[in-house]
């Protein structure tokens, strides 16, 4: 953490990391990636029949549900699988920033304390900047795979996405080596084995499918580790 002097920010960071500790958010993201990859591939290579349209709509519906109701799905899964092993805390970043205590503290401080408030403000702005950078890099890599014919673009995209993720989230949470090494692996795998006969949007679809499997693997490893560290006992709450 870049601001170790703030216990509040540290508590916020811990609560955020806690949300991901059981791997369920990553698993859900993996299912989402696989469903949109399936949709892209299936829609491009299957003739439109009532059955195929139904399958496509189901895949799209699954993706849309995960995209729009990610938090609710993860909370439901937590209630069924991991709760009450380590308790529950709603993730801080899903709320409007203005409700966070650091903001109202920042607004009301002056003089020497203003430095502290500015530090907190800087941390939040830095976080937003890093997220925008990560999203921009992923978009550039995706467009590159779609429109640049060179086969090595897939490997470069994998490295770029991995680097963007590392730069984007490393200050807030521990990033799994499975994800960090996995994206370049997917990219170079596509470069070597697929790039000659898979072009355009299909590259993106295959990359998304690989990403989905990567997230599933990472989420499964995190979940198994979590369940082994926290054997299930139904604990009563006071």
């Amino acid at each position: 953490m870049s601001q170790p002097q703030s216990i509040i920010l540290d508590a916020e960071r811990r609560a955020w990391a806690y949300w991901f500790a059981d791997g369920l958010p990553t698993l859900t993201a993996g299912v989402g990636s696989l469903s949109i990859a399936f949709f892209l591939l299936y829609s491009r290579h299957r003739a439109a029949t009532p059955l195929s349209v139904g399958v496509l709509l189901a895949a799209l519906g699954l993706y849309g549900t995960i995209l729009l109701r990610h938090r609710q799905i993860v909370e439901w899964l937590k209630s069924k699988i991991t709760y009450p092993r380590t308790g529950y805390a709603s993730p801080p970043y899903f709320t409007d920033d203005t409700t966070l205590p650091v903001d109202f503290i920042a607004l009301s401080l002056q003089g020497a304390d203003a430095k502290w408030a500015k530090d907190i403000d800087r941390v939040q702005k830095d976080r937003k900047r890093r997220m925008i950078f990560t999203v921009a890099m992923v978009l550039v890599a995706t467009l590159g795979m779609m429109f640049i014919a060179n086969r090595w673009i897939c490997g470069a995209a994998g490295v770029a996405i991995s680097a963007a993720l590392w730069l984007g989230v490393r200050k807030d949470e521990r990033l799994s080596w499975i994800v960090l090494a996995g994206f370049p692996f997917i990219g170079f795998y596509m470069t070597v084995f697929m790039a000659n006969h898979v072009v355009g949007p299909d590259r993106v679809a295959y990359f998304l499918a690989g990403s989905g499997m990567l997230f599933l693997l990472d989420g499964a490893v995190a979940l198994i580790r979590y369940l082994r560290r926290n054997p299930g006992t139904a604990r009563s709450q006071a």
Binding site: L9, Y83, P84, A89, Q237
Partner: protein, 109 residues
């Protein structure tokens, strides 16, 4: 007694107790958290946490809702508006004591 020292006398005693300060700090960082999470984060026993939460609830700083998550009982705790304001004021006073006492910069307007 100097005005700077008087700031110490006006600290909120409900929050100032170390265990309750831990609880308030953890709750200030999240919209809501359950009993078990607080227990793990603060390292308090069940009885200790219960009694401190009861005091914070009595002061109107913490809202406690008892529900169920699936088949398990769930005690959700969150800071009330009054609790956030009190915590903000407490933090400001402590900052004032540490940094702003000499020139009065930290005094709340």
């Amino acid at each position: 007694m100097t005005p700077d020292l008087q700031a110490l006398a006006t600290l909120d005693r409900v929050i100032h107790e170390p265990a309750r300060l831990m609880i308030m700090t953890v709750l200030s960082a999240v919209p809501e958290a359950d009993f078990l999470y607080l227990q793990r984060e603060c390292g308090l026993t069940q009885g200790n946490l219960s009694s401190h939460l009861a005091k914070l609830e009595q002061a109107g700083y913490v809202l406690i809702q008892k529900t169920f998550k699936g088949k398990y009982p769930l005690t959700i705790c969150s800071l009330t508006r009054k609790g956030r304001d009190a915590f903000e004021e407490y933090v400001q006073k402590m900052r004032f004591v540490a940094n702003g006492g000499a020139n009065g910069n930290g005094q709340k307007g």
